[in-house]
Symmetry: C3
Subunit: 203 residues, 3 copies
């Protein structure tokens, strides 16, 4: 129930971020719907394809599509208010990333993959939607340019395996990893932490 | 036989649209071939991947590749004449979209998906080729910016399920849905019908 | 052992080309890592997805990820030296393409596909990584614009089936095809051979 609620909030947040980007590009109604949809389900789709879990999950469970559709209608109606909601959006988005990371890790564990691959799956689940959104809108994906974004997923994902080795009970490790991803991302944005600059200064 | 003919015409039309876009971008011979290929089989590939129907259909049936190859050779030889064929191309393209929509819907029904997902599959089958073509050529996909395109697929796809519920015999419902997609798209372009503007006027 | 060595060299070369492109775009550390990763495993991933060979190969064998990771660290540390290594890079890249082409062809044969489809699979295995790299970096893929690149894969791939028909023993045919791809690509670049211009001169 709690899990389900956060899952829906995550889907809502990703869909809303898609609506905002698509409207900035002045796409038409269908374009906005598609971008919202792709942002919300892109990560899970890539994950399911890579591990051969087909039909992909959003095709078997109508909850995702229904949630996204309602979110887009809401987003278009209240787009002006949404600008003031940026901070809430960031929070939902971050919760979504935390959860999606661990959903991906879990699917990897179920598929018998090694921890490194589980973390890779989790990171892709959390981030591929935003990457696809940016490619469709003809931008270099923001994840490659700004903020510590995927790094939070990777660190959080590995922390799960460390917690389980301690051993922390699986459920707690799962929640702790989600909270770690969320915390890292919030701290990174709040204190403007960036990955080390790998380019030499031009003189 | 009739079905096969339209299917090939659809593939031809999509391949030709790819040739035209690729030549406008002045890609080399191989680039033109690839863009034509991707435009014609992109939708079916995504559909087969999402429902786990692998190897994807064009890998198991040489007809698609052969048809596309012949079309590209023809397209390059007669590119100047093709400019006068724009209207025929639009017609073939529209027929292709109508058919591809229902092929996708049918595959969804066979995979036991809900009607909403079948329609989503059909729409993707009809439109993903063009989207990929535009991404490869570094454009915002035209489907997100102009014309009622995917909307015709969605309305047509749902009409199939309504027809079957009446009940209209399945074969007739199938044909009626194809014709509806085609008619909607022709009317939309002819009368310049667009999706409602969701942006406020700037003053 | 020999095969394994070349395979790793190919992965290294593709990863390095990704590092160079990503650093030219001034992506951050994570962006460079992802672009290198995608360039090195993109082709194999598309191949495995299309034939339904999931989980995809790099998820089941850690060698790929480990190799790419080490290569990226090396690439970032020695990026200035790498500029002088362009020619070695081109050589490794070309060896990688030759090998990846035949790995793809082999997988197609195992999946019972027709020779045309095996060659298509091989070509995609060799080239899709670079295409994805360029799309992510917001460029028209270089493969569509410059050099005879995929053509070498196609000719080499078909040569394998011709060699086997002669009949040349399979292992020798395999090696001969790899060498043919490599030779064609080197000759094409050395003598600036291009595909025939399909555009009329503008007067």
């Amino acid at each position: 129930m709690f899990y389900q609620t956060i899952d829906i909030l995550g889907t809502v947040a990703f869909a809303l971020s898609g609506v905002l980007v698509a409207m900035e590009k002045r796409l038409d109604l269908f374009g906005v719907l598609i971008i919202a949809f792709v942002t919300a389900i892109g990560g899970g789709t890539l994950r399911d394809l890579l591990i051969g879990n087909t039909p992909v999950v959003w095709m078997r469970d109508l909850t995702y599509v229904t949630t996204i559709f309602i979110t887009v209608v809401f987003g278009i109606l209240f787009v002006n208010q949404l600008k003031y909601l940026r901070k809430s959006l960031f929070l939902f988005d971050t919760i979504g990333i935390g959860l999606y990371t661990m959903v991906g890790v879990e699917k990897g564990v179920q598929a018998g993959l090694s921890p490194v691959m589980c973390v890779a799956l989790g990171t892709m689940t959390a981030s591929f939607g935003g990457v696809t959104r940016d490619i469709l809108c003809n931008e270099i994906p923001v994840i490659f340019r700004k903020e510590i974004y995927a790094t939070a997923c990777i660190v959080g994902g590995f922390s799960y395996f460390l917690f389980v080795m301690v051993p922390v009970p699986e459920g707690y490790a799962y929640m702790a990893a989600i909270i770690l991803v969320i915390t890292l991302r919030i701290l990174a944005v709040k204190f403007d932490i960036r990955l080390p600059n790998i380019y030499k200064k031009e003189t």
